[in-house]
């Protein structure tokens, strides 16, 4: 029903969501959904002052494209937007943006968390968490499949 439409980007500047709005539009689309993951001040009571993201950039882009393509197919989406920011991401700013559109809302509601779960499992991007003393720790979750 829809042409394949994905937009996958890795950026080194703040993510401006308005830039991607048109990507989701299509005359047979009835539902748009967006998710943005933003740096927050506290994680399990610890104060975060900054997150810093690094990636295997080429592989991350390839993995993000595979995820977007699979989501498009699996959830009959019209379009998928997947953007990740690298470098320093201050509190309140977005490190990741996911958008998708479909004919009906159940598909986009299922697609958003699926895309985020896959991104967090497979895309070679890492964050270093800096606390208020300026000490930085790589986050390497050990409990994932």
């Amino acid at each position: 029903m829809f042409d394949r439409r994905i937009k996958v980007e890795i950026v080194d500047v703040p993510i401006v969501r308005e830039r991607y709005d048109d990507e989701l539009s299509h005359q047979d689309v009835g539902a748009h959904a967006w998710f943005a993951g933003v740096t927050r001040r506290t994680t399990q009571g610890k104060i975060t002052s900054l997150l810093h993201y690094e990636a295997h950039r080429e592989m991350a882009l390839k993995q993000m494209e595979e995820i977007a393509d699979e989501a498009l197919e699996r959830f009959s989406l019209a379009a998928v937007v997947l953007v990740h920011r690298l470098g320093a991401v201050p509190i309140g700013e977005a490190s990741v943006l996911v958008g998708c559109s479909s004919s009906h809302r159940p598909e986009v509601f299922t697609a958003l968390p699926w895309i985020m779960d896959r991104l967090k499992r497979d895309v070679p991007i890492w964050k270093k968490e800096y606390d208020d003393q300026g000490a930085g720790d790589w986050i390497h979750p050990q409990n994932l499949a």
Partner: protein
């Protein structure tokens, strides 16, 4: 006359990321593999354990790392062609 088969020694660059990079103190390391045949292939698991022998600081992190060959994950049993463009150690990811 006795035929002595000298093992074929191959140098191979491996790329490290995030915590693995910091633990070794370098983005890249060069491993030397002794291959006893001409296939130039080793399992991903073998490559990871050779890394652990050379860089013991990696031993805690390596069991949760995956190997990626030319930007695709490979399983531990996969035979990796040491002539691939890139072999990368991917610690558990934390994007998003």
């Amino acid at each position: 006359m006795r035929l002595v088969v000298e093992p074929n020694v191959i140098s191979r660059r491996v790329v490290l990321f995030a915590g693995a990079k910091d633990l070794v103190g370098a983005q890249e390391v060069t491993l030397e593999f002794k291959c006893h045949d001409a296939t130039n292939k080793l399992t991903a698991q073998k490559i990871l354990s050779l890394l652990g022998e050379l860089y013991p600081s990696l031993l805690d992190l390596l069991p949760s790392c995956r190997l990626a060959v030319d930007c695709e994950y490979v399983s531990g049993e996969t035979l990796v062609d040491l002539g691939a463009d890139e072999i990368a150690v991917i610690p558990p990811v934390s994007g998003g």
